[in-house]
């Protein structure tokens, strides 16, 4: 049994093997000090190497900056450095003795909504930045809405540039109250407020001496300690079958392993399971990988499962719990973010990619588009253009096995692909009409 590897580690090198992984997203524009904040997190947590620092110091001097511009650490592509903007999602890595972090760094302007949605799709937490001088703006609402839409469990609202409002507690409380009003309309389970100054480093890694009225944790402390294990779904057993392993070797002649990543629930040896679409049932015979067997399989493990009975199963099928099955329908409602420069063609066919299955679909009804700055419905029945978010109905050629996105981010998400160009043109989140 190698299950202990998923829990505690005996060969502990400075706790490195005992760390959790936290993925967070930051949305914001240059003006909010987002790049400075990330630079600060990397710099103060000693995650910047000497040669990286040398290279951005030189670049800063060439560009005529007096101080080293920490923002250059995150603006990687030549076009971005030349124009001083962030145009894509960039991934950054750092670690503290407590956790390893992956930052999905995205631009914040409305024309980059699709990039924000992309960055948010895999995040456990979102940092939303507010300039203390400006308070809650349209873009704050937009960033918070995207976090809510993508069901990011934790939102860390950083009121930045506190140094420019005399570190005023009153200003911080005003902004907090304003944002709480916005949040009432949203679906965010955990919101934290932190007054910071990214430029000076106040309350980012070290506690601020200028804001003694703030008793809460620093941003880094929150990132290190917010509870993320319970954000996963351990209730609804789901393994989308990704690949069937047939060794075709004498010693494993009869082995047939159904490979996939656990999308929800805890599978145990001996558990009764049902296979979709056939509806046939069997029992879990073994859960294996490379060198051994596991007692249990749970998110986010990639495993291979053997079943007691010989059933015809292939990629795109779903292994689930006969007492708790996913929805299986050919018509469903989704919240959609349109990602292509080319507007949606109503009635046209698109390819849907959902878990490990690929089917064709037709957009049968465009319900509404949202104004994500005002958080209200903009219009009904109008075809989506780049960055639009709203609700539509699709009809697929075969049933999908799905849960609502609220319940499961893996079995509840899909992408739309345009035939011909094969571009990914839409990101959809499934809605359960009964919820």
């Amino acid at each position: 049994m190698r299950d202990e590897n998923y829990q505690t580690q005996s060969q502990n090198t400075d706790g490195y093997l005992d760390m959790e992984l936290l993925r967070f997203t930051t949305a914001g524009s240059v003006d909010d000090g987002k790049s400075t904040l990330i630079g600060r997190l990397l710099y103060d947590s000693k995650s910047i190497f000497e040669d990286q620092l040398d290279s951005i110091t030189q670049a800063s001097e060439r560009m005529g900056n007096v101080e080293t511009n920490l923002a250059l650490l995150t603006d990687g592509l030549r076009a971005e450095r030349e124009q001083g903007i962030t145009i894509d999602v960039a991934y950054r890595y750092f670690a503290t003795p407590k956790r390893k972090f992956i930052i999905a760094d995205t631009p914040g302007h409305i024309q980059y909504t699709r990039n924000m949605v992309t960055g948010a799709s895999t995040a456990n937490a979102a940092i939303v930045l507010i300039d203390a001088r400006n308070g809650v703006l349209e873009q704050t609402k937009r960033h918070a809405y995207i976090a809510s839409l993508l069901q990011i469990p934790h939102v860390l609202l950083c009121v930045n540039k506190m140094d420019l409002v005399d570190h005023s507690q009153q200003r911080f409380e005003e902004i907090k109250a304003d944002f709480e009003k916005v949040a009432e309309k949203l679906d965010i389970s955990d919101i934290r407020f932190i007054p910071i100054s990214a430029k000076d480093g106040d309350n980012v890694v070290e506690k601020s001496e200028k804001m003694t009225w703030y008793n809460g944790p620093t941003l880094l402390h929150l990132l290190e300690t917010i509870e993320i294990t319970s954000d996963k779904n351990y209730t609804d057993k789901r393994i989308p079958v990704q690949y069937v392993i047939r060794p075709l070797r004498d010693e494993y002649h009869d082995y047939r392993g159904y490979a996939g990543r656990v999308a929800g629930g805890v599978f145990k040896k001996g558990d009764e399971v049902a296979i979709l679409p056939s509806g046939l049932t069997s029992k879990v015979k073994s859960i294996t990988d490379f060198e051994g067997e596991y007692d249990e399989a749970y998110p986010p493990m990639s495993v291979a499962i053997e079943l007691e009975d010989d059933i015809d199963i292939s990629r795109g099928d779903m292994i689930a719990d006969p007492k708790n099955m996913p929805n299986a329908t050919q018509e469903m409602d989704i919240m959609l973010n349109w990602m292509s420069e080319k507007p949606m063609t109503p009635g046209a066919k698109y390819i849907v990619k959902h878990t490990s299955s690929e089917v064709k679909c037709k957009i049968t009804n465009i319900k509404y588009r949202l104004d994500i700055n005002k958080l209200e419905i903009k219009d009904e029945g109008v075809a989506f253009e780049l960055n639009d978010i709203g609700r539509i109905t699709i009809k697929t050629t075969k049933p999908l096995f799905w849960d609502s996105y609220k319940r499961n981010r893996i079995t509840g998400s899909l992408i739309l692909i345009e035939e011909g160009t094969n571009n990914t043109v839409g990101a959809g989140m499934l809605i359960d009409p009964n919820e």
Binding site: Q7, L17, L21, K100, P247, R261, H354
Partner: protein, 321 residues
């Protein structure tokens, strides 16, 4: 099909929340491992003729180890491909051949020398001559020859800033080029590998790993690596502050004196541009400690990245890994 609509909510067993979280908290190396295995299986499922690029370096070794896990107890269902510049450390080549034999994996080797002999590229001359740029042509030819539709590579996003924006599934046009401004959005764990005739994909299963993660994983899984990663005696000379290995095809200036040093490789590339560091690390544990204490990035020692600020971005656009 009516019963599919039934929706039963099962509460988890009544254990304390604390116990529950301790039991199911996944450590970061296992989460990275699960993600990479998922990506490798997606490649095997979505493409007809995938291959895994193998350089003999630690990243490709870890990637291949993950591939073996992904398909166990079956063999890895695609070949490995090595772009051989001819400027290798001998130890790497022996390691490569042993590994292919031991695991029963097909190893395709494509030689930069053949590309030069065919007159497709002109060898660089001078002291800093390197075949690093030339190998892109050999790689693209190899992909075309073998009709490879997805080439997996061990690139990591933490290596270099142009790589930080790379996708797991990176689409290449029929000239093998990368267009960083026109990449497909990549959401959740839904990887779009659809393509038209003549196009191919580069796939980076260990995108989210850092250098430290790779070393810790090698230690955790006790993975074999070439001996030159450990400290050994070697004849070296210094150029631009970096120790380089003496080799028959390495031109030296008169001022570049060969001395014997105790060194090891932090990355393995061509002999011509792989900097060696003075080190005492002779075990994996010591390497991990050394990496943790180091204050420069591993690519900081690679002459190929020092050529210009956007060197990596330019090479990648042309089709480099």
């Amino acid at each position: 099909m009516l019963f599919f609509y039934t929706f039963v909510v099962l509460k988890s067993a009544p254990e304390s929340i604390q116990e529950f979280m301790e039991k199911y908290a996944v450590k970061h190396l296992r989460e990275l491992e699960a993600e990479s295995i998922f990506v490798i299986r997606e490649v095997a499922a979505q493409f007809e003729r995938p291959a895994m690029l193998f350089s003999g370096g630690k990243d490709s070794i870890v990637m291949f180890h993950l591939a073996r896990k992904a398909f166990w107890p079956a063999r890895v269902p695609f070949p490995l491909m090595h772009i051989d510049t001819g400027h290798n450390f001998e130890e790497t080549i022996k390691f490569r051949d042993d590994l292919a034999e031991k695991t029963g994996t097909k190893m395709l080797v494509k030689y930069v020398q053949d590309t030069i002999d065919a007159g497709k590229v002109v060898e660089e001359t001078g002291f800093d001559a390197s075949r690093n740029v030339l190998q892109t042509v050999t790689l693209l030819d190899g992909i075309e020859e073998e009709k490879i539709d997805a080439a997996m590579g061990g690139g990591r996003r933490d290596e270099e800033k142009a790589r930080a924006k790379e996708r797991f599934f990176s689409h290449r046009d029929d000239f093998g080029q990368w267009d960083p401004k026109n990449q497909r959005p990549e959401l959740w764990n839904l990887f779009n590998g659809r393509k038209n005739m003549g196009e191919h994909f580069r796939v980076f299963p260990i995108s989210n790993w850092t250098e430290m993660d790779v070393w810790q994983y090698i230690l955790l899984e006790n993975i074999d690596i070439p001996s030159i990663y450990f400290t050994h005696k070697r004849r070296v000379f210094k150029r631009d502050g970096v120790w380089l290995a003496e080799a028959p095809f390495m031109k030296r200036r008169d001022s570049e004196v060969v001395v014997e040093k105790k060194v090891r490789c932090r990355t393995i590339g061509d002999i011509t541009n792989t900097g060696l560091s003075e080190s005492k690390a002779t075990t994996l544990e010591e390497i991990v400690q050394e990496v943790a204490a180091t204050r420069t990035t591993e690519r900081g020692q690679r002459a190929d990245d020092k050529r210009s600020e956007a060197a990596m971005e330019d090479r990648k656009k042309e089709g480099y890994f």
